[in-house]
Amino acid sequence: MADWLSYSLHDFLLFSPDVYWRLLACYSESSMSLAIAIELMAVIAFAYVYRTRKYSVVALLNIVLLAVLGAMFYMQHFATINTFAPYLAYACFAQSFLLVLYLFKTRIAVISTHNDNFSKVNLTSINYAKLPLVCLAVIILSPWVAVFLSFTWHVGIVGILPIPTLILVLISSFFYSRLWRFVLLPIPFLLLVIELLTLKVVLS
C-alpha cells in the first residue's frame, strides 16, 4: 500500500514539457492543411445540423475526428515519446466503432419510422436547437482561447489535437439518445481527464 502512495502524477510523465510542446507545435504545423480542412468540415457540418436537424451528421463527424486523432496524433506522433499513446489511439478507435454501431442502429430506426430527428434528447434547461451553435463556437473559438491562455493557436485545433476535439465530442454526446449517451460518454470523458492531467503536470 505504501508503494502506491509514493507515486505522484510526475512519475507517469515520460517526457519533459519542452519536448511535449515541441511535438505539439511540429505536429500541428505539419498537419496544417488537414487541420484547416477538418475545421471547415466541422463548421459546415454543424451549420447543416442547425438548419436541417439531421443529427446523424454529428455522429459521422465525430467518427472522422476521433479516427484522425487516434491515427495521426496518438499513433504516429505522440507514440514517439509516450509508450502508452497507442492505447489512447485504440480508445479513439473503439469510440469510433461505437459511434458506427450507434449510427447503424439508429439509422434502422429512422428508416422504419421515416423520422431523421432520431436523437431523443430531453433537456429542460438548455434550448436543444442551440447545441449546434455551441459546437460551432467551440470549433471556431478554440484556437483563440489557446492564444488567450498563452499557448500557440495550434493547440486549439479541433480534430488535430486532443483537448478541443474531446471537448467537442463530449458536447456532441448531448445529441444522442439517453441510453446511448451512457455508452458513448465514458471513453471521451476518460481521454479528456488523461489529457487534462497531462497538461497539469506539463505546466507545473
Binding site: D3, S6, H10, D11, L13, L14, F15, S16, V19, R22, L23, C26, H77, T80, I81, N82, T83
Partner: protein, 325 residues
C-alpha cells in the same frame, strides 16, 4: 637553475597548459587521474568511471532531429570527459533509440567508443551499455532484449537489469542465460524512490546478481542502513539513480552559497557537491545523473578530479551544512 633549464621548464609548462586547453577538460586531462577516480565492480574487479549518464526523460525526444542533435553533443562530451556507463530502459520511451542514434553518429564520425579510441590522448571513455527489461512475461523479456539490441545498435550489453523488480523471478533465469551466451556481461535489478527495498534485500541475499540500482543521494540516505552494507558484504556493485532527486536538489540549493570548505572536498559547484557525496560512499560504484545540456554534463563529470573523495567526517559535514540551509 641555468637558462637552458629555465627554458625547458617553461616549455614543459606551456605544453601542459596547451594540452589542458585543447582537451577542454577543466581538470587538466593531460595527466591521468588518480586510481581513486575509478570504482571497482566487485564481481569482476573491472574498473569503472564512477559518473555515468541516465536517460530517463532527458533522452526521450522522439523523432525531433534538432533535439537528437543536442543529445548527440551531450553524449560526445560525456565520452570525451571519460564517461562510460549509459543507463536506459524500454520504459523510457524513445530514449534507447536516441542513445543508439547518438552512438551510431559518433561511430560514423570516427569517434568510436570502442577500445582502440582509448589510445587517443584525451582518454575517451569506453561505453558501458546498461539497459533493462521491463515486462511481466519472460517471452516479452526476450523480445524486449532483441528490441534493445536493435535500438541501441549493439549486439552485446555490459549490464542488463530487471527494471523496478517487475517479474524478477521470471526474468533472472533469462538474464543468466544471456550471460552464459555472452550477450551480457553483468546482470542486476533496479528500483527507485525508495520503493520495494525489502524485496530488493531478499533478492540480494538469495540471488546471484552483479549489480543493483536504487535511489541514493544526500537527501535520501535510507539505503545506508542496510542495503549498501549488504551490497559490500555480498560483493554487489551499486548504481545510484536520481542522484540529484530528479533535479529537485539543484532547484532547492543552487542559489545558496557553497560552503567555504567546498574546494577542500573537490567541489566547484552544487552538482559536484551532491555527486561527490554519493560516490564517496564505499559501496557505490556509479552515479547516473541525467541531463540534456552540455554545460551540465561538464559540471557533472567534474565531480571526478584530483581531490580525494570526501571521507566520513567530511560526508557528515556536508549533510550538516545542507541541513542548516
Amino acid at each position: 637553475m641555468s637558462v637552458d633549464q629555465n627554458r625547458r621548464h617553461l616549455l614543459k609548462l606551456a605544453s601542459a597548459m596547451g594540452l589542458a586547453i585543447c582537451s577542454g577538460h577543466h581538470s587538466l586531462f593531460a595527466t591521468p587521474l588518480p586510481s581513486s577516480a575509478t570504482k571497482i565492480i566487485p564481481s569482476s574487479n573491472e574498473s569503472l568511471f564512477p559518473i555515468g549518464m541516465g536517460t530517463w526523460i532527458t533522452f526521450n525526444v522522439g523523432n525531433d532531429m534538432q533535439l537528437r542533435e543536442q543529445r548527440l553533443q551531450v553524449v560526445d562530451k560525456f565520452f570525451e570527459l571519460g564517461g562510460q556507463m549509459i543507463d536506459s530502459s524500454p520504459m523510457y520511451g524513445s530514449s534507447e533509440d536516441v542513445v543508439g542514434y547518438c552512438l551510431s553518429q559518433l561511430a560514423s564520425k570516427g569517434l568510436s567508443t570502442k577500445e582502440e579510441i582509448r589510445k587517443k590522448l584525451n582518454n575517451r571513455g569506453k561505453l558501458f551499455a546498461a539497459t533493462k527489461t521491463w515486462t511481466r512475461s519472460s517471452d516479452s523479456g526476450q523480445q524486449q532484449f532483441i528490441d534493445s539490441q536493435r535500438l541501441w545498435r549493439q549486439q552485446r550489453f555490459d549490464l542488463l537489469q530487471v527494471h523496478n523488480l517487475v517479474a524478477w523471478q521470471r526474468h533472472l533465469p533469462m538474464l543468466q542465460e544471456l550471460k552464459q551466451q555472452k550477450l551480457i556481461r553483468y546482470l542486476g535489478v533496479t528500483t527507485s524512490h525508495g520503493r520495494r527495498h525489502s524485496e530488493l534485500i531478499k533478492i540480494m541475499k538469495t540471488q546471484a546478481i552483479d549489480f543493483i540500482q536504487l535511489t541514493y543521494n544526500i537527501d535520501d540516505r535510507e539505503a545506508e542502513h542496510d542495503i549498501l552494507p549488504l551490497a559490500q558484504e555480498r560483493g554487489i556493485a551499486v548504481i545510484a539513480n536520481r542522484p540529484l532527486q530528479g533535479g529537485r536538489l539543484m532547484d532547492k540549493f543552487q542559489q545558496e552559497p557553497l560552503p567555504v570548505w567546498s574546494k577542500e572536498i573537490g567541489c566547484n559547484n552544487w552538482a559536484q557537491f551532491f555527486l561527490r557525496f554519493i560516490i564517496s560512499h564505499p559501496a557505490i560504484t556509479s552515479a547516473i545523473p541525467a541531463t540534456s545540456q552540455v554545460n551540465h554534463m561538464i559540471e557533472n563529470m567534474g565531480a571526478i578530479n584530483r581531490v580525494p573523495l570526501p571521507n566520513n567526517a567530511q560526508r557528515e559535514q556536508m549533510v550538516r551544512y545542507l541541513a542548516a540551509l
